[in-house]
């Protein structure tokens, strides 16, 4: 299939893997963080770690939009959905995320009407078909999904819809990265920058990472060769003592971002003073809320939202996993009490969550390394 298979070519991967290995200084260990959950998913899905030398560790970052939603916000959403005559719409990933009293699926089993949509625009269709109901869209995600929420609000305003609102949980990536850079627990060597977020915000916002923290950033695409090439570019920078922002995903990401999308966001939304992130705690100016001008579409203004902060279950170590301090399997309850069937923490829910990715795809790591090495040797022998 075009535009997919080219980026999954095993021969090219072997060639890149050899170049990456050649850049490793003996005795040095490298920790690279892939910020985006989509990257984590690709890494596990394609067995990409097979191609990396042991001295390079990939650390999974906080860029899984579902994973960072705190329990209290899930409870708030279910509270909204259980108001009379409310239909809530939500992305599929969100359906299984546990609040303190269960997930959206559980809430539906108890009578709420929470529907899965593929695009926020579908909410407008539902609102049009149900004029006697209030349709509340559970908006989540980074700058990647915020523009589609913004466009939906603008369309709703243009159409004069009065029964549509947004429960806004959009978060912004830069404060989270900064929180991780300032975290004393973690020493990172470089960042695989989030590709989809960057299609909207561009590459400039990462410049402080290279300039002030001296860490290289390479914005990467989502196919396995994209990520492998980005790791190569990061290793090249490290070997040459450079720290710059580079754009591996230039076929999609413009350096200055998508101005139309940014404009739509700033027309409808503004920064919140602070927002709670699962595991990372309260981070100032790290999330978006609906602007006063669109108050009629702000579920938090239209309804009473309890806004109760719910502490994560004690056993849950999602915070450490999101910050990259713990590998998923190092969490106390990974795979035993917390499984994809009965997730305690968000990281086990979304396919982009590091724990779910590791549980579903990655458990054979050590065998894979040995097998891949044998495979590479056989391929080498076959070619020569």
């Amino acid at each position: 299939m075009r535009f997919v298979d080219e980026f999954r070519d095993a021969d090219k991967a072997h060639a890149l893997a050899a170049k990456i290995a050649a850049l490793c200084e003996p005795g040095r260990r490298y920790k690279l963080m892939e910020v985006c959950g989509g990257h984590t998913h690709t890494i596990y899905k394609h067995g990409l770690e097979d191609y990396l030398p042991e001295s390079i560790t990939l650390v999974h970052g906080p860029g899984c939009p579902v994973c960072v939603i705190p329990m209290g916000r899930v409870d708030d959403a279910i509270h909204l959905a259980s108001q009379p005559d409310v239909i809530m719409t939500s992305f599929g990933d969100m359906m299984r995320v546990p609040g303190s009293g269960g997930s959206f699926f559980d809430a539906n089993a108890e009578g709420t009407n929470i529907r899965m949509v593929y695009s926020p625009l579908d909410s407008l269709k539902i609102a049009g078909q149900n004029p006697d109901k209030q349709v509340v869209f559970m908006a989540i995600g980074f700058e990647t999904t915020a523009p589609s929420t913004a466009m939906t609000m603008l369309r709703a305003a243009a159409a004069g819809l009065t029964n549509f609102s947004v429960f806004c949980n959009h978060v912004t990536i830069i404060p989270a990265i900064k929180a991780i850079l300032d975290s004393p627990d973690l020493r990172l060597d470089g960042f695989i920058g989030p590709g989809h977020v960057s299609t909207v915000i561009g590459c400039r916002p990462y410049e402080f990472i290279a300039r002030d923290y001296g860490k290289p950033v390479v914005v990467a695409g989502f196919e396995p060769l994209d990520i492998l090439q980005s790791i190569y570019l990061l290793m090249l920078q490290l070997s040459q003592g450079r720290s710059e922002v580079e754009n591996q995903y230039s076929r999609v990401v413009p350096w200055d971002g998508n101005l139309v999308a940014l404009k739509a966001i700033s027309e409808t939304m503004e920064l919140r003073p602070y927002f709670e992130w699962r595991g990372l705690g309260f981070i100032s100016h790290s999330a978006l809320q609906v602007r006063e001008k669109y108050a009629a579409m702000d579920a938090e203004r239209l309804f009473q939202v309890p806004g109760v902060r719910v502490a994560d279950p004690k056993a849950c170590q999602c915070g450490e996993v999101l910050k990259g301090v713990l590998k998923p399997w190092e969490c106390k309850v990974f795979g035993t009490a917390c499984t994809p069937e009965t997730p305690i923490g968000t990281c086990m829910v979304s396919p982009e969550g590091a724990c779910a990715a590791y549980y579903n795809f990655g458990r054979m790591n050590r065998n894979r390394v040995a097998e891949a090495t044998r495979g590479a040797e056989a391929a080498q022998a076959g070619r020569s």
């Binding site: 095993a10 959905a81 599929g92 299984r96 719910v310 502490a311 004690k314 309850v333 009490a337 054979m364």
Partner: protein, 404 residues
Amino acid sequence: MTAGRTASPGHDHGTDPEGRDQPGWIDEALAEHERLELDTAGRRRLPLADREQQVLDRIDRARRRKPRVREERITMSHGSGGKATHTLIEAIFLDAFRNPLLEPLEDAARLRVGGSAIALTTDSYVVSPLFFPGGDIGDLAVNGTVNDLSVAGATPLYLSAGFILEEGFAVADLNRVTESMRAAAAAAGVHVVTGDTKVVQKGKADGCYINTAGIGLIERDVNLGVAHAQPGDAIIVSGPIGDHGITIMLARGELDIEADICSDTAPLNGLVAGLLDAVPGVRAMRDATRGGVATILNEIARAAGVGVLVSEDDIPVRAEVRGASELLGIDPMYVACEGRLVAVVPGGDAGAAVAALRAHPLGEQAAVIGHVRAEQPGIVQLKTAFGGTRIVDLLVGDPLPRIC
């Protein structure tokens, strides 16, 4: 829903306000973690790689425990064919009805009645939309039951049909459905010999639900079952996977994606007969419906206590299905088929089995996708086209599209 919820700041799962059984199982897991991780002096005692192995072993043990349904109510996940469905079946239905005929949990039960060996199966159909490219709920209801009998090695003979109709359902639509059932039954050589009709109030059903049960005669001396898979066996699929599931997703019209694909719904009895004629030693067959090929591979690995290794490059998937799956972030391995089977045959018979399948119009693209091995029992591994390997586990619920 929220009436009983008194979430307060600082509360934790250990004292769940709704009194779910969480304290027990979370505490158990934590205690187990402590025992494994720390020696008597409270120091971590193992190097990293070994600790990872320990965690994997622990997961393995946790998975072998008696399944329990932890939810208080049925959710949509319980109907998806993945882990939640398995847990429900094993913890509730198998527990209540346990008997040696039910226990293998095959697609059809094998019974002896008088001197004959009989296969009996039943299935309910709730597909939405009722009509889709390549078929409708009617031929699905006939083919699905015919296929469950066929893969049990039986010749399908007689079907029952139960209809649950929603008040207001168009009679013209019912005619279309029954006409395609008639045609499908004729094509499969079976007869619908008994039935039932119920009508429910508007809103209590989605147009039309159908249940069919079927019996078939086991004439061959076969002993089929996923538990019979042995290391060295080949795993074969009879054609491109995922057509039905993707067709239905697109036919719902929620995705704004158009593609030229149709459901693969078809009766497999002819195909199966050809395969069994050529390779009487077939060890197991399953039709890859809900949960897709990945679910069957996991059932093989678990029931037989073997490892399964399949190669992504060898799995036939139509370009349209792959494209739609890529867009949606769904893995075709988990997508339902309605006219494909997975067969396990002794390694030496793989060539003959593929040739026999390819000789039938429904098996033209049959292919060996992998093999059974002794290593890593219970685990299904996939060699990715990229050259890596990964686990293919059961899904918990339906594959959910990713958001970004």
